[in-house]
Symmetry: C2
Subunit: 466 residues, 2 copies
Amino acid sequence: MEWGELRELILRRIRPSVEEERLVEAFCRRISGELSERLREAGFKAVAEVHGSVAKGTWLSGERDLDIFILLDPGYERDVIPSVLEVVKRYLGSGWVEAYAEHPYLQARIDEFQVDFVPCFRIRPGEPLKSATDRTPLHTAYVREHLKPEQRDEVRLLKRFMKGIGVYGAELKVGGFSGYLCELLIIHYGSFEELLEAAARWRRGTVIQLEVGPDPRELRRRFGTPLIVVDPIDPNRNVAAPVSEDSFWSFVAASRGFLKAPSEIYFYPREERPEAQEILEALRLRGSDLLFVVIPDSDVDVPDILWGQLYKAEKALRGLLERWGFEVLRSAAWSDEASRHILLYELESATLPIVEKHMGPPVEVVEHSERFLRKHLGSEDLISGPWIEGGRWWILTRRRWTGARELLRHHLEVDGGRGIGVPKRLSRRIREGFSLLLNGEIEPYLEGDFISFLHRFLCGRASWLH
Amino acid sequence: MEWGELRELILRRIRPSVEEERLVEAFCRRISGELSERLREAGFKAVAEVHGSVAKGTWLSGERDLDIFILLDPGYERDVIPSVLEVVKRYLGSGWVEAYAEHPYLQARIDEFQVDFVPCFRIRPGEPLKSATDRTPLHTAYVREHLKPEQRDEVRLLKRFMKGIGVYGAELKVGGFSGYLCELLIIHYGSFEELLEAAARWRRGTVIQLEVGPDPRELRRRFGTPLIVVDPIDPNRNVAAPVSEDSFWSFVAASRGFLKAPSEIYFYPREERPEAQEILEALRLRGSDLLFVVIPDSDVDVPDILWGQLYKAEKALRGLLERWGFEVLRSAAWSDEASRHILLYELESATLPIVEKHMGPPVEVVEHSERFLRKHLGSEDLISGPWIEGGRWWILTRRRWTGARELLRHHLEVDGGRGIGVPKRLSRRIREGFSLLLNGEIEPYLEGDFISFLHRFLCGRASWLH
């Protein structure tokens, strides 16, 4: 299909209709108006305002997530937040949940909308922040001022594209591009296609500045991320900081692929939900070994903290396996974010030969040579040697761990993996119980989202690569 | 045992008795006298002289190898050699064998002596050579002049020590220290013990000069060997050139070990001749895989050429195995120098997992990325991916060779291994027939010297390490 035609098809799905716009705007006006009034009545110098994609006119049709910010007069300090939230609670009556990021905020379902009520302090560009959310109103204002109305669809196409290739969202689980970053990229490059043309040629350390700012080399040194997009309302902030290296290159590669052969698959990847039996068959035929660490968790952290811990644990266990000579082909972490986490490792083989070649010191270094000979000549683990080769001592020794499962079990049982770098809270969960499953033993867990996840892992290919 | 006491015990075994000296000298005098007379009668300006260790008084008791050199007048050219050898043949009557190194020479057994008759041209120090053996008379003269009579026993101790630790002999098979080199080392350091004290501290690039000569740095650059001993009768020659790195460090390490705890074992290692059943049991318990390439050979080359070819072939096959991912723990070559050669490889495992991780180009490099994707996306060998990790493309592919035996068989059957670097003559033998045997399959060949060799290989430890 021609890109022009495809573009219209996709826009038809993601661009809100006039009725939808009217509905959302009316809802926003009502809630912010009512809440502002309640705040005034309660004696607060504060107003409720809609922010996020709705405020900027860049939301995708069907999305019903709203951010309502309560802008407090700069005279207030952070200790005012609880009493402000009390006013919101009274306004909502029931059905709210108190959540906590950097400071507390409220979540509520109203009609078909999922609304976050977030207190923040009104500041002007360049002023110091009282809370991390104080920048949001400035971001809204910047985008409103610089994003032309006809560019809203460009942002929508970009967001849908990024969702499709799996790099949308600044949360730790994704490590991708935030909505605000998408808007800045469109403001900077003009359109979805112009951005993709540029991204196809992006290199590590690409610097994007919408306002005049420091030398790019200086910014590269300071931020060190593959992509640096200076926040136009705060030159000390890199809006692209959450973009992981993998997300960055995925976007670059997908941009190239898309420009060569535009396809709907970039926006709407095929959702495959294979049967458990297919997965088991694939595991059986694969030739490698898949080792799963299943961790039940009855008290899950908020996602960003949870994923931080999972990724650290994944890396820690991978490092352990590699240090003991196991060839880790790939690893990944999965969680339902509610009751169960699974770390998985694809190994060339979960068992290693018992014999291992071990390098000793150069013969030239007298004391090290003596220590090496003293240590190994009497050792029960010595299989062969020591012999001299290439100016060094060498031996064959019995390998301590020939099974990957036994190696992990040992370290997880001792202290939940704390000693090898598993974060504290997760190691506590592990000490309460875990399973180590090899290949087909994962069968009982092949359900719901995990099946799709494992299928994607086994395929190992970006959804848009065909 | 005290070293003083041990030294006497060993000298008693290696120092020829007065009767032996008398016997050997009388024999030498008789042969060289008679042969000189025959040469004179035949009209040659030439004399027969004894050279080698007997001429220098450094032979070990019981050794009956003699070098008789026929020194030709410098007026002759190399084309005279055949007619000179005719005289020797007539003198010997029968029982001689014509051999060939750089030029032809004769070998004969006379009484209990094994005698080499070697023609050479009389030169003076610094004069150009007509044949490689022309230096020998000068070496004899140098040692006779500089080695004190009481130092002959020091040379004998050194030779026996070097034989004991397996580094005696400049031939390619050993890659060790020649008799002349042993004599120069004793002349330079004074005694066996003083040499060992020095060798214990030798470093790579040790330079020894008995006469004033060039800057050591210059010599290190020129020769590049771990040990450089400048020939006092030819400053352009490194007498230690044949000393391999392994022999060098073995001597250094053994010197240290001996000085710490002198023992007879350095001079006379325990000769172990295990039963075939013991070897098979050791192979079974070992955990690694031993792969043997057995090459029958009905027309064996002279040793130095043969071993050159065997070592090259050993290395070529090792390289092949390593390139295809097999972990070669050690390798070695054995030959009876008469009818059979065996290359052996100890592998962590003779089989590899079918899955292999394969690194692609950086995503940043557009054309390479495209070529990589084009090549692998449609490939039947693709198991998983391509995915992006650390800025690069990666895939899991099916390994071409999962069995070491099949890999070697393929390359040896095609062209005798010529294409991967097996030397020509040996590759011809291989094309005539070879066996690839794994572990216990070597049983039919477990006989004679090969049993001892394999036992030492499996033990892998220098004989003096205890």
